[in-house]
């Protein structure tokens, strides 16, 4: 049972090594990491008790920025695309954030949804610029100045995504423990006291909103390069719902849960689609139902319960909380 305590580290190791043993899996895992980054953005906002039903707009905006960059500068580097994607989504997050941070709960969620649908409609209708529903092709960028073959590039992209996911986890974890992060949590519990501490709840939420947009944007750039094509579907409301779904699956409000949820979601989706193509959504639905009914704190909550049952280093049992 002691192994349970090391489960996260073991899983990270397995994810890192798996593509070496099963090369085709790295595409799926890269998609999971890209979505995990976007979900991490949703998790940041969940800390303030706010659910965004439109975060796919940042995912899509960043993906399209990669497509436009590759169209304009064929030899652009992956680092430039990732950076440009983050700047694009961050700027967009700052502008949209100025409006949405004035609202809370269902109004916050719906306003995000509305903005995302505006972007979706623009991407869909501006055919001559965005390619409409056909989308845009994204060429293979150079990797630190090197032109890599497809397989090598996919491997490099996977490990880059893994590294970025790790860095994002670390940063968000630090952020949430900092006074800013604690003030963000305080928006959920007592906004009145926050204001009477001289802290602007809107300003705190705006900072978190921009951070969450940047994270979603980073995921969007990765997915664009990984898939080689971007379509308006990246910004559709179903995608936003998917991010919220994964956040709950992983354990709402937890940093590692974002990636645990994304990995489980992508793997279930992949195998369900392969083995039961017509009913894979139903299988995903049952998985979420199971999580909500039997492990309401998601995968991370499930893990914590297991770790609490497992004997500690001196053999004592910690109480379940």
């Amino acid at each position: 049972m002691r192994l349970v305590r090391y489960l996260p580290a073991v899983l990270v190791l397995v994810v890192a090594v798996l593509p070496l043993a099963v090369p085709w899996l790295k595409i799926v895992l890269t998609v999971a990491l890209a979505k995990g980054l976007a979900v991490l953005g949703v998790v940041v906002l969940l800390r303030a008790g706010q659910v965004s039903f439109g975060h796919a707009m940042f995912f899509a905006a960043s993906a399209y920025s990669a497509a436009f960059l590759m169209q304009g500068f064929a030899g652009a580097d992956l680092a430039v695309l990732l950076l440009a994607g983050m700047v694009c989504s961050g700027t967009m997050g700052a502008v949209i954030g100025l409006f949405v941070v004035r609202y809370r709960y269902i109004f916050f969620g719906m306003l995000n949804l509305a903005f995302s649908m505006v972007l979706y409609a623009l991407l869909e209708k501006m055919f001559h610029i965005t390619g409409g529903s056909d989308g845009m092709a994204v060429g293979r960028p150079t990797y630190l100045g090197l032109e890599l073959a497809r397989t090598s590039f996919e491997t490099a992209l996977f490990y880059t995504s893994l590294g970025l996911a790790g860095a994002a986890c670390w940063f968000v974890h630090r952020f949430l423990r900092s006074p800013l992060g604690e003030a963000l949590s305080a928006i959920r519990t007592n906004e009145t006291r926050l204001e009477y501490l001289g802290i602007s709840a809107r300003w705190i939420l705006l900072i978190a909103y921009v951070l969450s947009a940047v994270l979603a944007g980073l995921g969007g750039s990765i997915i664009a390069v990984n898939q080689g094509v971007v379509t308006p579907d990246l910004g559709y409301w179903i995608r936003s719902g998917e991010f919220v779904f994964i956040a709950i699956l992983g354990g709402a409000g937890h940093v590692l849960g974002a990636f645990a949820g994304a990995l489980v979601y992508e793997l279930v989706r992949f195998y369900a689609a392969a083995m039961a193509a017509d009913v894979w959504q139903m299988i995903l639905g049952f998985v979420l139902l199971g999580i909500i009914l039997f492990a309401s704190r998601g995968i991370v909550g499930l893990y914590r319960d297991l770790a609490a049952i497992a004997p500690g280093p001196r053999g004592h049992r910690e109480p379940l909380r």
């Binding site: 423990r177 992060g181 604690e182 003030a183 305080a186 009477y196 001289g198 802290i199």
Partner: protein, 247 residues
């Protein structure tokens, strides 16, 4: 007592047909403890709400030091040096006692480094000393929702004092607690105010508390001030006893 710290002039505000402030004029002097008494609905909390920016008066002004703070946002007024403790403690219930104070310290010092954990703020010792002053050091790591009501009230006041305000406004700091607890809270409070040199205004219903702890008392009645003065003088007035206490 020397110098005026807060000055309310000709405040008016109504809610529908109810007038909560009808030409309120009041000065709060540096270093004093001013008690506000009056029957329910007289406009006592409304006065605090106006002074802290929660409500905007339809007429009149509030000056803090040399600045007009009428209609300023609560956070702006807080940053200027007016803190508030509430009748129902306003705390972050899913956080620990010490975290509530540290967040106040971070707000005061504007420490927003995203890489520095709240726990590692240099003001941690200062906050523990403040809790010690209130006899709360032992519960510093407890969650707010695990505390009894009396201690929550004290934490609410400690959070306000963590801002190092010049003026502390408190709405019924002893309501909802036992008589013994009342005097314990007030003793600790008065000591903390003296240590920090904070001027205070508190709304109170218990005349014993007012007599013991207030330097001056202002009597509210239907949106206006009936009388202001030292407690022994004001509370000796039969009309005050009749209107406020009902005897």
């Amino acid at each position: 007592m020397s110098g005026t710290l807060l000055e309310a002039s000709n405040l008016h505000i109504s809610f529908g047909g109810v007038t909560a402030a009808d030409g309120i004029d009041l000065e709060v002097f540096n270093g004093e403890r001013l008690a506000i008494i009056g029957p329910n609905g007289a406009g006592k909390t409304t006065f605090l709400n106006i002074c802290t920016g929660y409500l905007t008066p339809s007429a009149g002004s509030v000056r803090f030091g040399r600045r007009d703070i009428t209609a300023m946002a609560p956070r702006a007024i807080t940053r200027m040096g007016i803190a508030r403790a509430f009748q129902t403690p306003q705390l972050f219930h899913d956080q620990r006692v010490i975290d509530n104070l540290l967040l106040a310290a971070a707000a005061r010092e504007r420490t927003w480094n995203p890489f520095r954990p709240l726990q590692d703020l240099p003001e941690r010792d200062e906050m523990l000393e403040l809790l010690e002053l209130f006899g709360l050091a032992e519960v510093s790591t407890q969650m707010i929702n695990e505390l009894p009501e009396g201690n929550r009230k004290l934490v609410d006041i400690a959070v306000a004092l963590a801002l190092r305000p010049q003026l502390l406004l408190m709405d019924e700091p002893t309501s909802g607690v036992s008589t013994l607890e009342k005097f314990r809270i007030m003793d600790l409070l008065v000591e903390a105010l003296a240590v920090q040199g904070v001027t205070s205004v508190f709304v109170e219903h218990d005349m014993e508390v007012v007599k013991r702890y207030a330097d001056r008392v202002a009597v509210w009645s239907a949106g206006h001030i009936q009388s202001v003065g030292p407690p022994d003088q004001v509370l000796a007035d039969p009309s005050v006893m009749r209107d406020v206490i009902g005897i």
